[in-house]
Point group: C2
Chain length 396, copies 2
Amino acid sequence: MRMTARPQNVHQARLLRLLRDEGPRSRAELGDVVRLSRSKLAVELDRLVELGLVEGAGLAASRGGRRSGIVRLSPRLRFVAFDIGATSIDVAVTDGELEVLGHVNEPCDVRQGATVVLDRALDLLGKLRDQGLIDGQVHGTGIGVPGPVSFRDGMPVVPPIMPGWDRFPVRDAIGQELGCPVLVDNDVNLMALGELTSGVARSVDDFLLVKIGTGIGCGIVVDGAIYRGVSGSAGDIGHIRVDDDGPVCACGNAGCLEAYFGGAALARDAAAAAASGESAHLAALLETHGELTGEHVSIAAAAGDPASVRIIREGGRHVGQVLAGLVSFFNPGLVIIAGGVAGLGHTLLAEIRSVVYRRSAPLATGNLPIVLSELAGAAGVVGGARLISDHVFSTA
Amino acid sequence: MRMTARPQNVHQARLLRLLRDEGPRSRAELGDVVRLSRSKLAVELDRLVELGLVEGAGLAASRGGRRSGIVRLSPRLRFVAFDIGATSIDVAVTDGELEVLGHVNEPCDVRQGATVVLDRALDLLGKLRDQGLIDGQVHGTGIGVPGPVSFRDGMPVVPPIMPGWDRFPVRDAIGQELGCPVLVDNDVNLMALGELTSGVARSVDDFLLVKIGTGIGCGIVVDGAIYRGVSGSAGDIGHIRVDDDGPVCACGNAGCLEAYFGGAALARDAAAAAASGESAHLAALLETHGELTGEHVSIAAAAGDPASVRIIREGGRHVGQVLAGLVSFFNPGLVIIAGGVAGLGHTLLAEIRSVVYRRSAPLATGNLPIVLSELAGAAGVVGGARLISDHVFSTA
DNA sequence: GGGGCTTTGTCTTTTGAGTGGAAAAAGTTC
DNA sequence: GAACTTTTTCCACTCAAAAGACAAAGCCCC
C-alpha cells in the first residue's frame, strides 16, 4: 500500500499549515508571508505538488503586473474524526482545510466496550465513504474518547465511565484498519482544539474550555497547544471540591462539582423538583418520558419553569465557584462553556460570569471573555481533524 | 562601554546552557552529546573562547586514547539576582554555572517605594562587589518582586502590597544602572525556577511551587518554563475560595485561602489562642515580643504547643483543599511547598498530603510527590540568576 | 621501550541548502 | 503599441555543516 505523503522539511510543513489555516493563496502572496527566497519557495511548492499534497488552482487577479498562480491544498486530502461520547458517536470527514464535508451522529452507549463501539464508528465512516466523500486515501484520523488517555500510547487509561476500554490500543487498532496515522485524545481536549481551529478561540493562545455534560471536564490550551499534564489527566475538574457538606458523589467524596451539576446530579434535582410538587412542568415531563435528564431541565427552563431555572442557576453558581479559582490560577485569555447544557444558554452563562467576575483576581478577569461554544456538536470532530492534521503537516 | 558578550547562534547558546547545567566537560564528551561534526564543534567552541564566555581547563582523563581538552564557562561570568520580598531584600552574585558566590539578606519594607528599596538593593550589591566577588562585568541581573509583573514591560502592575511600585520601570532603571540585561518577574515564579535549577525539581518539567508567606502564591512551570498567563497574573491563588462562610479577607470576599492561612490570618489565630487561654505558650511569646507572627506559631508548635499545632493543621487542611483542585486541574509531576511557613515542616506537609491524596483525581496523584522546598531562602535568587542566564545564553 | 591500536584535534574537501541577480513571460496603463 | 510592473524561472554564487584525511597524543601488551 502506498504510504500517505508527508512534508519533507519544515518549510513544506509550514506551507501546508499556512494553506490549511488561510486557504488558497497565490505563490506571490506566500512569498510575502514566508521568509524564503522566490526560488526556494518555488522548489518547495513544486515538491509539494509532486507529493500530491498541493495543486495549482488557476491564476490570481493581477496586482499590477503578471498574474500569479494560485496554489491550494489538494482537494482530495481527507481527514477523519471520531468523537466517541458517553452516549453517542460522531464521525466526520473533512478536507485538508478542515472543512467538514460530512458528519453523522448516532446514539451509542460507550459502555458496550471498545470493539463494539469502534466497529460502529467504522460502520458510520463506511456510510460517509458510500456518499462518495472519500475518493482515495484517508490522510489521518483523530479520535476523542470520554475519559483520560495516555496520548503517547494512544489508549484510554483507567477511564471511569468506559468499562472494557482500559488500555485498549485504540490508536493502533484504528491505524491498522484505516492505514493512516491516528491520534487519540480526551474528547474535551479535542473540543478545545476545535474551538481553536474554527470557533471562538481562533485568535487566543491560552484558554480553557469547560464541558458540562455527563461529566464535567476542562480542556487546557497553553500557547496554542493542548496541555495534558504529566500523566494525561490534566483538566479533570469534575471532582474538585465545592463544599464539604455537599451531596455525595459517585467518586466517594462529598461536595464534588459533578455531584452538584453533572448529568446525574441534574437528573436527581429534576426528579426531586417533580416529586416535591415544586415543578408541575418537570412532573409532566417525567410522566411522558418515564425519566428526567439534563435536557428536560433545559426544555423546562426555556419554557419558563421556575424550578428548572433555579436548578440551572445553582449549578452555574457552583461551576462559577470552581472556575473562579481556575481563572485566578491559570489567567486564561478566554473561557468557553460547552457541552449538552450549553443549550441552557444565557441563564447559565450569566450565573457563571457573575461568580467568576466577583471571585477571581481582578488582573485575571480584567479582559476575560466567558462565552458559549460556537461549534456545539461539531467542536469535537473539528478538533479531531485538527489534531491529526497538525501531526501529518509536520516533519516525521 | 563594552557590550556584554552573547552567543552568536543556536549552537553556541546550546553549548553554553549545557556547560551551565552539566558543568565543565571535555570537548570529546560535548561531541557525543550535541549533534554536530567534530570540526563544527571545534569552531563554535573556539568562537566562544574568543568571546570570553568559555575557556579551556586542562586535559580530561584518557578514554583509551589521546586525552581530550576540558572546557568550562569562564569563571569570570557573573549573574546578579535581587529578590525583593514583602519585608526583606536578598541580593546574590553567582558564577556562570549559577553557583551562589555571595548572598546577603536585609530586612526592608517594600512599602517604602521603588526608588528607596532598589537603592538599598544596589547598596547591598555594592557590598558584595567590595568583597571582590565581581572582578569585571555583570553579565545579567534577575529581579523578583512580591506582586504581579508585566514580564514584557519589566515592571510591576497594580501590585496590592507594593504602594509606589505600580508601573515603575524596574527593568529599565536597573539595566541603566548596571549596564547589563535585566529581567523582572514575580518572586514566586523565581522560586520555582530556583527549584528547577538546583532544587527538588531538577528533573521535572511540569510542576507547581506553592509559597506560603505574607501572601500565598503559586509558581507554574510548564515544559521547563514559567507559565505566566495572558496578563502575567497566573498563579495568584491567595484569593481562591475555600468556603463561603469563612473569615473575611482583605480583598473584600469571605473565605479566601489567605484569610485562612496567610501571614495576617496566622497572626490573628495565634493572638486568639493566646487571649483565650488556649495556649499559654503563645501567650508567653506575646508577652515577650509584643506581637505574634507566623514564625511564633512555628516556634510554639516545634516546642509542642497543642494550639499551634492545631492552627498549622487547620491551615494545612485549607491549603490542601485548594491544592487538591489545582492538582486535578493541572496534573503536575511535583508539588513544592515553600515560604516562611515551610519551617512549620512535616506537620504542615502531612496535613497537605493527606487532603490532596484523598481529594485529587487518582490518576493525577498516582505518582505525585509533595515536598518541602530544598533551597529555602536561596530559591528566589537562584531563580533570578537562572531567569537572566536563560536569556543571556540564548540568541538575540 | 617499542609496535599496534584507539582517541582526539586540525585541516581540507565535499555537499547541499539557500540567496540574489538577470532575463523571460505575462499584464497593465496610457 | 510603447513603457512600466509583476511574476516566474534559471543560474551562478555564498555559506554552513558534514565528511574525510591526517597527524598528534595516549593506552596496552609484550
